[in-house]
Amino acid sequence: MATLQASDLTLAYDKVTIVDELSLDIPTGQVSIVVGANGCGKSTLLRALSRLLKPAGGQVLLDGADIHSKPAKEVAKTLGLLPQSPTAPDGITARELISRGRYPHQGLFKRFSAEDEAAVNRAMELTGTTELADRSVDELSGGQRQRVWIAMALAQETDLLLLDEPTTFLDVAHQLEVLDVVSELNRSRGITVVIVLHDLNLAARYADYLVALRHGKIYAAGHPNDVVTEKTVKDVFGMPSRVIPDPVGGTPLVLPIGRHRVLRTEQVLATKGIYRSEASARDTAAKQAASVKEAAEAAAQLDPQAMRPAHEHVPTLAFDTTVVKSEQLAPSFRRLTVSGEDLEYFGTNSHPLDMRIKLLLPPAGGTALTDEIASMRPEALTSPAEQQGWYKRWLSIDPDTRGYMRTYTVRAFREAGHRDNIGATAELDIDFVMHGDIVDGQLQGGPATEFGDRAKVGDQLLLLGPNKTLNDSTYGGIEFRRGEATRVVLAGDETAAPAICAILEELPSNVTGHALIEVPETTDILGASTRSGVSVQWLTRGSHEHGELLQAALRQVVAIPAAGVVHTNAEPEDIDVDADILWETGQANTAPFYAWIAGEAGTVKEMRRYLVRDAGVDRKQVAFMGYWRRGKTEN
């Protein structure tokens, strides 16, 4: 079998470099597909691989020898190319066109031989064009015409077949028709195939080896499962997306995310571990709740002085974890994935909305593992008495020694053995929001921002979270409790975005309303999936004041009723944003409307005041929480 390689290949048109020092080994006997944005150089690369373009640097090696050192006709016997838009001469029949593929095998005086005839017949049979042989190519459908062209390239009888966007201008059925023929050829004849393709999902489905090009360089190459990730799509196509397993092919499936679009794909929810059948979820939840209750009762009857492992009786445990992945989701969002043996005891036996944990951020040069915290590790021996008042004692320690505690939303929790896990133990995803200023190339902000910005794989992270044996879905303290409400408003800034996304994923389909999320830049727009009717609106702040757009949007979606229609509430009790923690859970048991506001304390306070005082929403229907305060490093 012929081999094809590019080594340090530089390609340029009129001194404009299109492909830059690219090296690529085409896997022999496989289907390789090259994807990339328009103008990334993928077609140019294919032209060079097929000897149509002379490289400005480096070389293309066909069977180990420079392709340009071989005569064109020799190359054409080993390597066939179907260009992007070949032209069929007027009135030519399919058989005549396919016969022209025999050109490299014919001499000047050699007539069309029986061997040529046999090759043409084989090519037609393989592409299913035998019955089209006598038809004029002009009158064929797009898919049929493309199959005829592939047959022409096949009649060349080469080991390698290169196709430049063979599915352009075809409808989806014809695209599949063409790709099926090609993959069939690969499987039945072992032909090495290289295809340049626009459609990422089809590429993922048909490729054995996927090459993603960006700006003339290989961004990623390998099996589609490794190459097609949300990050790759974002970086290569500049498009936010969600990648899920293709329910048909099992390959990655890219769901593009528009600005104001809501994805309602159940598969999206399924991959996040969200139960599609609510009844079965309720059953398991009920069973677990019972066992948790039992465990809690047992814990309460323990001798206060008895030393027992913390996981048996301490509801909130300290988990020692290691950062296993740090991923920049968007300029202002970084996702840390942490993992550790301790996480075996982590959880609430359910999927509470907005499950919170406390991160213990170490002081400069120190460790956050104080005695109080150490006694809360799952396996640590401790007594109920020892745990009494630990928080007060911890608070009294100098922050420079103990570090800081910050509240974070768990973006995703995957138990040990989950398909997406990096390591063997359970994993947590935590999204950090980078709000601060760049000083000397380093982000200066709150301790959490700085920690998130600088965290590397391998770093240690202590966190406080629910003990699986003693907690159920009521864990968290501050949750989203919409009760009977079917109309909701979720509003928040980038710090609230992870929580809002988590809530959206949980909302059932009968809920409508608005989700307003203010983020610094367009590129910070994350994927939000929901099967509810809540419309998600991402607001990009740009040069506006923090919270300005958010408040304006809130005023639009919750209008002030006409005078006299409702009695608006009096001024809500004033809250000192510096002294009080701005956390209040609305208790909307029967009211049809529920609002959930989070983010910067000042903005939250303003929005709450608007809803309660101006729009007349009952205070109990408005849950609000300040995650951070502008101009303060402490919260």
């Binding site: 016997k77 190319l81 007027d90 009135g91 299913g128 023929v181």
Partner: protein, 364 residues
């Protein structure tokens, strides 16, 4: 038609093959076979029309000669008066006319097939004007009348072809750009010809004017031999190769290159052959309007298939011979240059092509 094929299995369609055995594809009823037989039939009718036009010109028309005497002359006997008319005037005219028509027909058809556009014939894209201008220059300024005139004409045609080719950014799909560049160059060259005419002596200018309309009046055996040898050499040595390569080139340059064709050389050779086939006759007869343009599309219309290059050559020969008969006999007291007739018939055809190209979306 499309719906029935769509219903068939898309990948291999094995199940359907027995219903429509491949043997049927090879029987004599296939489209390709029908087309081949149409080409043969058309060629036959063209030859018949050609013979009739030659016979009519020799035996019939104004200044009718006694048929017996014509036969005697053709038989090799010498008949005073008739011999001179036949041997020194009518036969050389027919010979030059046929050769020129064939050359122009092949030239036009090559360009038209290559660029996939009927408008791309050398008389439309300015190559004809290049040959004309060079010939006019050679006649007026240098006073050439022999083979050097042909050489000048050929050089002029090639030069303009190269210029147009360069202007339209060779290598890409250049069809319509090449035609537009050719039209512009053609207009410039017409101005050059007008200028050269003002520089000429009155009687030279009059000859040149007559030549410029395309005329067989100056035909003699020497001219005919020159054309036969030059066109024949190109036709036998280079044309078979060009025809073979044209089949690849018309698939698009990338596809051709992928099939192992050296596109640059193939293109250059094609342009050379096409220009030579058109420019050599022009040096002898002057630019006979529309012959190169008409021959290809007429054969395509008659065979209801793609342009057949050799058949286009035959059609060109027949066209000129018929036009020659009409030029000599249309008016009782006036012998027109043959270019007047081809021009008069060609112009409506050009309009028809343009209208048709507009409605189908192809063309320039």
């Amino acid at each position: 038609m499309e719906a029935t094929t769509m219903a068939q299995p898309t990948s291999t369609g094995d199940a359907d093959v027995p219903a429509k055995p491949p043997a049927a594809a090879q029987s004599g009823t296939t489209l390709a076979a029908r087309r081949r037989s149409r080409v043969r039939r058309t060629a036959l009718w063209m030859v018949v029309a050609l013979v009739l036009a030659i016979a009519a010109y020799l035996f019939w028309g104004r200044d009718r000669l006694p048929a017996a005497e014509v036969f005697q002359v053709l038989g090799g006997e010498k008949v005073p008066g008739t011999s001179f008319i036949i041997m020194s005037d009518r036969l050389p005219r027919i010979a030059v006319g046929m050769l020129a028509g064939a050359g122009l027909g092949i030239s036009g058809a090559l360009f038209q097939r290559w660029l996939g556009n009927p408008l791309a014939s050398p008389d439309v894209i300015g190559v004809g004007y290049g040959a004309s201008a060079a010939a006019v220059f050679a006649m007026i300024i240098r006073g050439y009348t022999d083979w050097k005139l042909n050489a000048f004409s050929l050089a002029g045609g090639l030069l303009v072809a190269a210029l147009i080719y360069w202007l339209s950014a060779a290598g890409k799909r250049t069809g319509s750009r090449l035609i537009l560049a050719g039209l512009a160059i053609g207009a410039m060259l017409q101005a050059l010809i007008q200028y050269l005419l003002t520089q000429a002596q009155v009687n030279t200018a009059s000859d040149v004017m007559h030549w410029l309309t395309g005329s067989l009046a100056s035909s003699n055996w020497e001219n005919a031999l020159l054309l036969l040898v030059s066109l024949g050499a190109i036709g036998i040595l280079l044309l078979p190769l060009v025809l073979r390569q044209l089949k690849m080139l018309e698939l698009g340059e990338d596809a051709a290159a992928a099939l192992g064709l050296h596109v640059g050389w193939a293109r250059a050779l094609l342009v050379f052959v096409a220009v030579a086939m058109g420019a050599l006759p022009i040096a002898v007869t002057g630019p006979m309007a529309f012959v190169a343009f008409l021959a290809g599309p007429i054969t395509a219309a008659l065979t209801r298939g793609p342009i057949n290059i050799l058949l286009a050559g035959l059609t060109g020969a027949t066209l000129v011979t018929i036009a020659n008969f009409f030029a000599a006999n249309l008016f009782a007291d006036l012998s027109l240059p043959v270019g007047v007739i081809t021009g008069a018939f060609g112009a409506p055809f050009l309009i028809w092509i343009l209208v048709r190209a507009n409605s189908t979306g192809s063309g320039a």
